[in-house]
Symmetry: D2
Subunit: 296 residues, 4 copies
Amino acid sequence: MNKLGVHALVWTGGWSHDEAARAIGSSAELGFDIIEIPALDPRGIDIEFTAKKLEENGIGTTISLGLDASTDVSSTDKTIVARGEERLNDALNVAIGIGATHMCGILYSAFQKYMEPPTETGIANSVEVLQRICETAAKHDITIGLEVVNRYESNVINTAEQAVAMCRRIGAPNVKVHLDTYHMNIEEADNARAIRETGDDLGYFHIGESHRGYLGSGNVDFTKMFRALAEIDYQHPITFESFSSVVTGQPLTGILGIWRNLWDDGADLCRHAQEYIRTEMKSAKENVAGRGTAAV
Amino acid sequence: MNKLGVHALVWTGGWSHDEAARAIGSSAELGFDIIEIPALDPRGIDIEFTAKKLEENGIGTTISLGLDASTDVSSTDKTIVARGEERLNDALNVAIGIGATHMCGILYSAFQKYMEPPTETGIANSVEVLQRICETAAKHDITIGLEVVNRYESNVINTAEQAVAMCRRIGAPNVKVHLDTYHMNIEEADNARAIRETGDDLGYFHIGESHRGYLGSGNVDFTKMFRALAEIDYQHPITFESFSSVVTGQPLTGILGIWRNLWDDGADLCRHAQEYIRTEMKSAKENVAGRGTAAV
Amino acid sequence: MNKLGVHALVWTGGWSHDEAARAIGSSAELGFDIIEIPALDPRGIDIEFTAKKLEENGIGTTISLGLDASTDVSSTDKTIVARGEERLNDALNVAIGIGATHMCGILYSAFQKYMEPPTETGIANSVEVLQRICETAAKHDITIGLEVVNRYESNVINTAEQAVAMCRRIGAPNVKVHLDTYHMNIEEADNARAIRETGDDLGYFHIGESHRGYLGSGNVDFTKMFRALAEIDYQHPITFESFSSVVTGQPLTGILGIWRNLWDDGADLCRHAQEYIRTEMKSAKENVAGRGTAAV
Amino acid sequence: MNKLGVHALVWTGGWSHDEAARAIGSSAELGFDIIEIPALDPRGIDIEFTAKKLEENGIGTTISLGLDASTDVSSTDKTIVARGEERLNDALNVAIGIGATHMCGILYSAFQKYMEPPTETGIANSVEVLQRICETAAKHDITIGLEVVNRYESNVINTAEQAVAMCRRIGAPNVKVHLDTYHMNIEEADNARAIRETGDDLGYFHIGESHRGYLGSGNVDFTKMFRALAEIDYQHPITFESFSSVVTGQPLTGILGIWRNLWDDGADLCRHAQEYIRTEMKSAKENVAGRGTAAV
């Protein structure tokens, strides 16, 4: 069975001691195996405190982040690229310190709406930085996940196929594709085939609805996706992601474009998400179990 | 919340004291609100024993049956029609005796593959018999559910629209449409619209997969259906149905055409079914909750 | 591009000279590449006349049939099996005579609702007969297609997986799986995966709606299926099938269970079917064309 | 039958005489009833020339635009709002001059990724401006369509429900909801129900794939949507929209975020789109035709 995770932003937009304790505690209480901690500002995370709370609650962790314009490793400006590498190393330092198994997200560019296509120089810069990041991460058994996001959040990787190509260019054994159903719904030609074709390159999976509300209450065809995960015998984390401006606060509300809220009770939302994932995953496993034969 | 039921044929093909006790006990243990008891042979049911076991286990009940060629109330042969009415009255007697809230199934014709279309005389016979059955049932607060089945199981009612028309002809306040997702998948042009258009006439709902295995592991688009149920604010039972020849035995295996088995552990199947229904129903309710508004 | 075919039963239930001329003419006029001629009664077909009309109209052909109880090659009664082989040879004789490229259908059992599971002896009989039929067919470059049908039409082959297994047992190079979307909707766990897993064993494809009416007006998820056909680069015929009792007449209306009609204008139905198939097939080819890459 | 339109951006990113002639000519040649002309820069359109070409080619027209930050009528800055009204009047002047039946798009805010939620004052400004625009438009029988777009293109109207509410606030008889399948796929909880609930308020319909490529080659469930359009008996235009950076050029490539191209042959794309819409629309009409009844 896959480890099930939940994004900390379901509980809190900040990471003060109180917020960290509550997010970690609530996730563990609901039975999640993993809490994904956003590290947009890695230096704002109290590593020791976080590690202690994770241990107390017996829950695993991963971290995620997106770079910004001033730390964009796909920039052609060497100063910006260097700042990006520093930011990634800061985050990796958090990951190591709190015992994260994965560092994921928009690690290869800024998390923003671009107005121009990426440049080959910029992508080469991104590849070089990530090669070094992967090398450091490998020493701590950390998987680096390149999150495939929609066109409004990056101009570099919008499809699984692009992410696989990026993994090949980076060439590290611990760099993997990180898919997210919310983004796939916008960009992939066929969500299930994208999963099947990513296959063993898939190392992290975000599950979110088309409108980022309750699972199964939007447009994503989850049945198809869970079957594809079962077909490739996906064994890595599945992490639930959903956002409400009540929790996120600014600037995240703005970056994510949360103009209406689809829930107010995060615990209810997450309890349902967990049951939904487990139930659908079981349906999917039965589906691919191959009980077609009989007489012949 | 709808009462959730399970068909006794998931547990046993017969209704000896041992079988009845086990089927009722297992259903109650898994937390179902209702067990649907098949009454193809009403006189073979020990009413007193069944009623006692239901009470001991604190679980409600409904009964279902299909007529056969010798008791076909849609026949043009008055002797056969009379035998059919007798069979229905026998079943109703069981329903009353065990405290069933609903008597459902193919009550309006034989449960068989016909080779000729129905006749107007036959349908008129069926209507007349059911009018009297409904009258008796009404005195005991029992709802009569006309199950819509596929073309291979009856030639009289294959679509929700036909069932609504049949209810109108019968004209009783306690006659309702009984839909079944397995059959709808074969006959309805649009499963969700069929539910919406049946609306308040819908009184009983069978949930089964396209191949009659684990829910969510076949072709039925349940998400769409649950949303339609949420839209009409359906408040009546939802009963899970799935068949394996290991349990059914003959002649049911033959009548139902079970040529391969999609499960062997009935308890695992039912536990999953219940979680699946609750989880999807919650997704559906969130879906129709109408959280589209914000700024304006 | 796949050859597009249409089942003659869209035009006529018989095969008199007038009926044959009209069915062939109408199919050719609408631009179909193939007409599939039902040969339930092979000796009732005027081979010479049919061949001439096909040639005049410049249209290819295939034939299909289902055996009946008296010619059931999956019987354990040797006399019945022998009669079945004779019937198949009669049909093959027609196929050869009219230049058919494929002989398809329920060639391995009766076309009926069984009441008992198949027996190993019966299946062995079916395999032996089909080995000889395939051998004869091979001499005339005719493909033998084993149609996968639902549980109400045979107890031998209800899934693609079973059909592939049957092909392996027969072991002939010209025996192929014949899938039909109407039946798949009832029996397959996953229609698209069934197509993908059949792969090169797929030799004939029937396209029909869940209720056998206009394509796209029922429950079949054709988009998914066309993508699977595009994925396996399926190059063989796609034949449209739809039935109305106005055309079929008895006994076919009864055998097929046509209790309501979903169309009255066969030409309109077929024109739409052809456009539907071509348009969806193009969408599917674009879908699998793999335009996911860009920047990286 | 609905009038079928095509967005001029399939043909050209500019509106020089040559470009206008080619876009109008190509649209007419493919048999579209309408060409939708983007009027982001209304004063750059040669009204007389455009009107003449439209007449010569016997094709109808509509116009569309999105405001920008400097003309945002949902701003709280009165100068910006006034510039927005001027821009809308300029566009309306074009609409009148070329005989457009509809003026649509993001007329109520800027066409951009916002970083803050809308304000009540800003929305009130937008409403007031649109009331006056509607009044002028009404004199020329022009319908004003408020396009529902995703969260990355506006913060004011992201769902059909919000658009209906905005129409009510504006209160003009000629203001209608303009839905777009590309955006609905991201924002609506249920695409089909959104159409049904918009009902008579729906006045314009954009059809585009989830990834903006060939129709039917992405994630949008068009079957469901066409059925909803058939259910509400939608009689207004259906316009096809698809973008490739080869055609759009900057700044539109950047605004729209076109980082990869899903087609290169616009004529092939549009021919297919037209067949796809007509064929699916016919399937949908057959679906809702209600042929469920028979015997009873």
